[in-house]
Amino acid sequence: MKLSILKAVLVCLAPFLFYQCSEKKNSVVGLDVLQRENIGSERHAVFQAAANDTFFQSTVSTGEGLYLFFGKYATVEAKALIRFDTLTTSGSVDSLVLTFKKVKTYHQTAGTVTIVVSALQKDWNEQTMTWNAFDAGFIGNTITTKTIASTDTLVEMTLPKQWAPLLVRSTSQTPSYGILLTTDGRDGLVQTNSIEYGQYMELKMYVNNSTKSVYPVQDVFISASSQRPDPDRLVVADGTALRSVLRFNVGEIPKTAVIGRAYLKLHVDESLAYPSIQTQYTVLGFWLKDSLFTQGTISLDSTKYAEASLDNKMVVLNVTSFVQSWTSGFAKNEGILLGGKYETTDLAGLSFYSSRADSLNRPSLDVFYTLPPSPAY
């Protein structure tokens, strides 16, 4: 009997030991029981951009884009340069027709566009040609003009046949510099396909009663913006390569803090938006490596960037890694450079409210971070 009682007591201990082997049980006890400083040290802070935010015009090569743009829209003006291949057949040219597909026409007010074809008279290269490199010396005589409606999709322009020797090359002739496509300077921007798109512009010639086609070997669009610096706005633009720089002083975040999330929030002024071939304008935020931008030189780390598209009148970039690097001391906080993702292939832009705009619309850096607790004594 006594043995049975003893056995029962000892066996009762077994479930207790099994219980010990169970998973850890999460406590609902408040952490404040630990009596430690910095408990509940998760913080949320919103930083305003420093007042020296601004935008500037950079230089990019647009020779590799899928599209060519020419004409004028709002503050943007573009020109397209095309150089054709060599015509190897000899003989007299009876007629000359330039044909290309018009992808889209952008207007501020609906209307027609008058296309102007001019001869180029200086050599150029699509990899290096920029608006700033283009001067009046490039432009030769006007070859022809044509007015098209916004509904036209195929453009055919008959060129005087005497221009044929200057527009195409043959092995026995000096190189041709090609043609320049512009408009008459009124409202209207034309978008067409480039060599990279694969649907070529075509120069048809009738030589000795047979049709010969010549296609471009180089093309590029160059563009510029007449947007004047506005202290209330930051601008980013593809094609014209407008970029913005802004900085946030996050020095109050301690070095040992872990950044949970940092969002750069930019409010868009839609009245200044440019057209875009993209369904959504996409902004890249780059990590600036130094502060030389005031001297006209921007040094950025192209491998470290954040990307976000326009959504509900805002662009929100996740710059957590930037802020973490600044606060941890891995990198100096030189600010963030904003640029368009399709800077070399598109002609579009956005304007953001700057640090001097209405306080509700200013750029802000929204940061969640965690401070470590003080160690136990």
């Binding site: 049980k25 406590s27 006890v29 630990l34 998760e42 040992t256 872990v258 949970g260 999330r261 004594y377």
Partner: protein, 419 residues
């Protein structure tokens, strides 16, 4: 000579104990313990053997050939055979606060002892025992500006002491002993914040790691002025413990994906407070003993780099307990060959609560001593029920349950011939 029934009963009991011990060892889990173990080096531990644990941790005046704790090095004098002793303990706590309840558990080895009696009452012993233990985990859901996350903190480790003791029974009235102690150990505490929105948020982890080393000594004596009274006392001076602290701050996804953001290290010297105590044990004929013990440790002198740690206090522990002896008659029924123990103790926790109130700690204990084959080995077990803190005064309370098992082996071939 035992009869078959008694032998079977003994075998059954041993089988049950072996089974329990097996599961304790197989599923050893260093899991959450007291939230108070986040303080200092962790919760200070007395770590007595199961015999003393059954009598509320009274160790200073214990005199038993098979059960010694070594906290008073002079108590080794009563050992007659070469002894190896292993302590196991399992502890559960149920925590109550105004916010809710929680529970946690802990199972581990709690010490090792080897004693070697030599000639003329002299002897040597080596012992390993924990001085503090840190083991806790707290997880808490939180919210910040509409973003939800889980914050958790987990502490583990503690410091242990390895002691080399020399003891001498000068005569039948007086025994003395001294230990040289080497203190070592490591504490780790990590804090994690894991945001529920893991697509856009990065978690964090802070790891505090501290390696400790130091040395010290302990001296003790036992006095038997009359055959029915044992007086004991011991003293350990303040210990200087050198600590190498390392703090690492991580971006954290999981243990396989984490990146160090910052790291720093520093060295500290911590003064672990002196401890002393005395006890008296009365032998009530051949059937029982009863005693009382007082120990004191000046935690208010606990300092880091000579800066006293705030919120600490001098702890005064008082314990009382007794034992009904096992019958020495080999033909007695097995249950009468078992020893039965009981005890009570009180002491304040070494640190005050956040409001500056003392945190009381009560224990009630019972224990058993189970003789094993040939009477040279013994298994002791103790169960302790404790309460730490008060919901009304300290805003939290812990109900503690502890099971201690000590296996002592003293085989004949270890015994000195001239004893």
């Amino acid at each position: 000579m035992r009869n078959n029934g008694e032998t079977n009963m003994t075998n059954d009991i041993h089988k049950i104990i072996r089974t329990i011990s097996f599961f304790m060892l197989l599923h050893r889990t260093l899991i959450a313990g007291s939230i108070l173990s986040s303080k200092g080096f962790g919760i200070p531990m007395i770590s007595p053997d199961a015999r003393s644990a059954g009598m509320a941790g009274m160790t200073l005046a214990q005199s038993d050939p098979y059960s010694v704790s070594g906290i008073n090095p002079s108590s080794f004098v009563s050992v007659r055979t070469t002894l190896v002793s292993l302590h196991l303990s399992a502890e559960n706590s149920w925590i109550r606060t105004g916010d809710g309840n929680a529970s946690s558990g802990y199972t581990n080895f709690d010490g090792f002892l080897f004693a070697l009696p030599l000639k003329s009452g002299l002897g040597l012993a080596i012992q390993l025992r924990p001085l503090t233990r840190m083991s806790y985990r707290i997880t808490s859901p939180q919210q910040l500006e509409g973003q939800t996350y889980t914050k958790s903190t987990e502490g583990r480790g503690g410091i242990s002491e390895i002691s080399l003791s020399a003891f001498w029974g000068i005569n039948r009235f007086l025994s003395i002993g001294a230990s040289g102690n080497y203190i070592f150990g490591k504490n780790e505490e990590d804090w994690k914040v894991l945001w529920d929105d893991q697509n856009t948020f990065t978690g964090s982890k802070t790891l505090f790691s501290a390696r400790h080393s130091g040395n010290g000594w302990t001296a003790g004596l036992q006095l038997k002025p009359i055959s029915s009274l044992i007086l004991g006392g011991s003293y350990s001076p303040e210990l200087n413990i050198d600590t190498q602290n390392e703090h690492a701050y991580y971006e954290y996804v999981n243990e396989a994906t984490k990146y160090v953001l910052a790291y720093d290290a520093e060295k500290n010297r911590t003064q672990f407070p002196a401890r002393w105590g005395f006890a008296a044990m009365a032998i009530l004929g051949k059937t029982a003993s009863w005693g009382i013990e007082y120990t004191e440790q000046a935690w208010n002198r606990f300092s880091v780099n000579r800066n006293f740690v705030p919120g600490t206090l001098k702890t005064q522990r008082i314990a009382t307990g007794g034992e009904f002896f096992a019958m020495a008659n080999p033909t007695a029924p097995y249950l009468k060959k078992m020893a039965y123990r009981i005890g009570f103790s009180y002491q304040p926790f070494f640190s005050k609560d956040r409001n500056g109130n003392r945190i009381g700690e009560w224990w009630a204990t019972v224990g058993l001593g189970l003789p094993m084959t040939m009477g040279l080995s013994q298994i002791d077990a103790a169960i302790a029920l404790g309460r730490r803190g008060s919901l009304s005064t300290n805003t939290f309370s812990e109900t503690l349950f502890k099971f201690v098992l000590t296996v002592t082996v003293g085989e004949k071939w270890f015994t000195r011939v001239n004893e």
